[in-house]
Subunit: 461 residues, 2 copies
Amino acid sequence: MLNKNHIVFFRSIVGEEDCKDDAIYLKSYAYDSTRESFEPQCVIFPKNEEQISKILCYCNENFIPVVPRGAGSGMSGGAICANGGVVLAMEKYFNQILEIDEKNLLARVQPAVINKTFQNEVEKVGLFYPPDPASQDFSTLGGNVSENAGGMRAVKYGITKDYVLALRAVLPNGAIIQTGKKTIKDVAGYNLSGLLCGSEGTLAVITEITLKLRVKPKFTQMMLGLFASIDSCMHVVYKILSSGVTPVAMEFLDTLTLKAVQKKMHRVFRDDAKAILIIQVDGEIPEIMDYQIQKIQEIFSQNECLESHIAKNTTEAQEIWAMRRNASQSISIYGKKKLNEDITVPRGNLPSLLKGIEEIGKKYGFKIACFGHAGDGNVHTNVMVENPQDNAELERGYQAVEEIFRLAIKLEGTLSGEHGIGLSKAPFMKLAFSDAEMELFRNLKKAFDPNNILNPKKMGL
Amino acid sequence: MLNKNHIVFFRSIVGEEDCKDDAIYLKSYAYDSTRESFEPQCVIFPKNEEQISKILCYCNENFIPVVPRGAGSGMSGGAICANGGVVLAMEKYFNQILEIDEKNLLARVQPAVINKTFQNEVEKVGLFYPPDPASQDFSTLGGNVSENAGGMRAVKYGITKDYVLALRAVLPNGAIIQTGKKTIKDVAGYNLSGLLCGSEGTLAVITEITLKLRVKPKFTQMMLGLFASIDSCMHVVYKILSSGVTPVAMEFLDTLTLKAVQKKMHRVFRDDAKAILIIQVDGEIPEIMDYQIQKIQEIFSQNECLESHIAKNTTEAQEIWAMRRNASQSISIYGKKKLNEDITVPRGNLPSLLKGIEEIGKKYGFKIACFGHAGDGNVHTNVMVENPQDNAELERGYQAVEEIFRLAIKLEGTLSGEHGIGLSKAPFMKLAFSDAEMELFRNLKKAFDPNNILNPKKMGL
């Protein structure tokens, strides 16, 4: 699709140094965290909005696919070139924090700033950026916006879209637009910032993000509860939230995951513990911390909690977090390949979801390890395939995954809570959306991108 | 545009009783709170989604404008028929609360449920729906979603879009769609719920809304501070928010408004009080209430606060609220007609905004009374026209308004914080948006509504 002349044009815009088509670059930019791999035909490092505008304009006229890319750490194939064309690699020149505005509790950043770098910088001046996807150490804020990333702290503080006040972006026709303002309230024109959040790079190339900040809470505390059943563990989640206590995070590990984590961390809990709930609370004064912890312990004790622990110091708090952070790695003892998804259901349906998943595991003959964000109904399900080289077994694994999607939708849930659709879940869009809804998505994409050059084939469009 | 045959068709769908074209109905449905008036040619009361689907389908084929309408209490002309056609009056059959789900902290409602009715119902079971536009006693939740309504409690709890989890809606082609899920996290497909919020009835007819709820806070407290200058009053706003205390509401009255309110309420404050700040805080335990109040008083005392009061009981709390609620009415002593707008700027720019507005008042020879939501930078500006029958004076008034819009935009603000654009602010869209942005809005509207039948002429489209 791409020929020498195109490369010559790109080099006239960004210079030879920043337009690469040698094999090593094409390979390096072919993958993301899904381990699917499609090579681009050219990797461009744009220096500014004007260059992006010229490149998009040209690609639009020449029907050349363009895929904007941050860290390439996405979990659904959003940043890979399913259809050849050009990668717009933002990490080289769009990695600056432009402004931290303490007066208005907001910041302006370029899209390739790493999430954790940003968190650290705002915390230096006593501020707080809550969205903390598991990939926070390497994923970019632009990627977070494009996938509408969640994280552990979503229970109390919401997800990426709740922090995006304004964006600058370049449209496929080369126009540079601004969406939203530096204000909490803005009802002039359509809510394009809200629409671009989670649009997976299919509508526009984001070049600047204005993010709302909070003041960093003075106190935080970690605790955990061990439960006799996954059911009572899930029951506790909504009991706590209904009590008026809103923890920062409420993370669970199911029986399989709990066992695996204990093994990995050489830590042994009691045998009758079938599920664990990890909770973080925060607040401005010690009394509100005590109040929340007491309330949670009260609810624990009324719901088959076998025992609970409160972190006595930072080290203990880190140990508790480490159990959750090790979950994903530790379950690899159950199989060489894990088919992991991030379905979400209304919290009240978590017990039915987990029961259903257990049955799907039995039906297809797989261990399915589940853990994740109980506080917002977002469960990371992992179908553990012992012999992925066995095609029949792998195929059965994918069937189990499809059945998990069907179950989530039946329980009024969604295909994805935070990873996005990208390529990986594209075939399942038809389970979740009607023909009319899919047609509307396509029309909406056309309104931004009539020639379908931006990140084609993603989201099942 | 509409002829007898069309009416015959509508009656075949909804029955004669629910399709009215007599003068009294056309008059009754011609206005909203802007006092602009355009008569529809027919008022239809649809009973269900299927009827709406059939009507939209027919109107789409016949290029008949359709304006969905709740209470008709909008402040920007969103619910009036600028182009003739049909009003879809939702209040008769779409006024039910369908479900209050205590387990998942959410509710499903039909669009014509009154905001305050809904608040009251959820509070009966200990829950809380924060968005509280000034029109809460009569405006509908569907109208609130369509205009993305704000309110007093936005400082701590956000605005309507922060509570919309899912929608059902009918497209101009008759298709019934669902957007979003009963989950906090959902990143499958484009964020259509976010886009429909604030779309002013131009994209789809909303038929059902799933709203997030919170647990009702146990304690609330009202207080007020009198300030020697509007500047110090505004300064205090961001000082409080930067301290880590987030009040539920922070409302201010400027010197003119404060004087008028005192007169109306027969209450006299000290002469040197030039501005008042009304603050509500809430919390789960008495200690956190004390902490917040102390912190606020500390900041008050460091910033030219002349005196402060804390409500000792419910009556006193209501008296404090009444000062704010009476603001809009009481300023009528300054002129027969008020040209009121609801611009919003980043909080840190409030002092510059109010200084600029004072200068605009002097330049054009008007008193401009300002009050409103200091906590989120949303100011209700009122250009007071003494002799509105004097065309030259009125014209000068509109010039002052336009200059206020220009000032707000210069200060990185927006034309509207909560009222929407509708017809009233349509001429000013070009001040706030580039040609490329306006074209994108139009393309986006076309993606939903290619024949431009839904609420035409609104938003400057």
